[in-house]
């Protein structure tokens, strides 16, 4: 299991480093906007409960519960604990993405150093962040959104189709396959991401836009670093295993 071990070690270490870096970037760029949006989320139910008596009970209850119907379960308390769990999610998520990146790139011969990893990381950024964000912009709490499962399914389909399109463009030389690649990258946006019934949002448009920019830019840095580290460490670990 020498290859498996080398890939897991390379993914764990690059995930740890890139995940901690990402936590710092998020702490500076995205988390403040999430906390700001949550003030709108907390404020939003107020008008509904105000005329609670005069309205149909079911609709009033639904509008209050819709933004956060998972509030009963345990959640980290604000501050250090919340940051700690975000850091943990970042590190674990980064290790998972690194493992996926390393496994898929093994099929094409494996990452041969940091530059190779950087190119794969930027391609992964295009598939995992850029393409889904075009039709389904990163959302802040309190923003209206379509059914969660439908959005997750569209998100996964878009990431996979875009990744397949990029792979075809890079590794195949025939014109029909290049056309297929372009089609695969465009198709999810022709189908369209699931949209909410109404785009009316308590979150100001400027805040929402600032969040999209912050997510895309921090993710770009994250993927560049994760890819480069994965390439560097994969090269080291497979060499020492051989």
């Amino acid at each position: 299991m020498a290859i498996f071990r080398a890939l897991v070690f390379a993914a764990a270490l690059s995930g740890l480093l890139a995940g901690l870096l990402m936590t710092g970037l998020q702490h500076a760029a995205t988390t403040p906007l999430i906390l700001k949006a949550e003030t709108y989320e907390e404020a939003a139910p107020a008008p509904a409960s105000h005329d609670h008596g005069s309205h149909d009970h079911g609709t009033a209850g639904q509008s209050v519960a819709a933004p956060h119907d998972h509030a009963d379960a345990w959640a980290p308390s604000d501050g250090a604990e919340r940051l700690l769990y975000t850091a943990l999610a970042n590190v674990v998520g980064a290790a998972g993405f690194a493992l996926l990146l390393l496994a898929v790139s093994e099929v094409a011969g494996g990452l041969a150093g940091w530059r190779d990893g950087l190119a794969w990381g930027v391609a992964a950024f295009a598939a995992v962040t850029l393409a889904p964000s075009l039709s389904l912009p990163p959302e802040l709490p309190a923003m209206p959104a379509a059914d969660l499962f439908a959005r997750q399914a569209w998100w996964i389909g878009t990431a996979v189709a875009t990744a397949a399109g990029i792979a075809l463009l890079v590794y195949k030389r025939s014109l029909p396959l290049a056309a297929l690649a372009v089609g695969l990258i465009v198709l999810p946006h022709l189908i369209g991401a699931p949209q909410p019934d109404s785009h009316d949002s308590p979150v100001p448009a400027g805040l929402a836009h600032g969040f999209v920019v912050a997510v895309v830019v921090t993710s770009f840095v994250f993927w560049a670093v994760l890819g480069a580290l994965a390439g560097l460490l994969r090269q080291r670990f497979t060499r020492s295993a051989a």
Binding site: A2, I3, F4, L7, V8, A11, Q26, T30, T31, I34, P67, H70, D72, A73, W74, A75, P76, R82, Y85, T86, L88, A89, N90, V92, G93, A95, G96, F97, A98, L99, L100, L101, L102, A103, V104, E106, V107, T129, P132, S133, L136, P137, P138, E139, L140, P141, A145, L148, R151, Q152, W155, I156, V160, A163, A164, A167, V215, V216, T218, S219
Partner: protein, 63 residues
């Protein structure tokens, strides 16, 4: 992408080294998928709440 790659060396199992390599790469990929699914897509409320800011900050569909 991964499955098509791993099946061809497996069925042509004449070279066991190649098959073993394919199995190991597939295992690594599946483990990666499992981890990303758990952190980014799980519907379990506790996992969702712990990873809440991460999901929003990386553009995963959240609640």
């Amino acid at each position: 992408m991964m499955t098509t790659q791993t099946q061809s060396p497996n069925t042509a199992a004449t070279e066991s080294g190649l098959a073993s390599r394919a199995v190991q790469i597939t295992l690594a990929g599946l483990l990666g998928l499992f981890i990303v699914g758990g952190v980014g897509f799980s519907g379990i409320p506790v996992l969702h709440n712990a990873a809440h800011d991460y999901r929003h900050s990386t553009g995963f569909p959240c609640h």
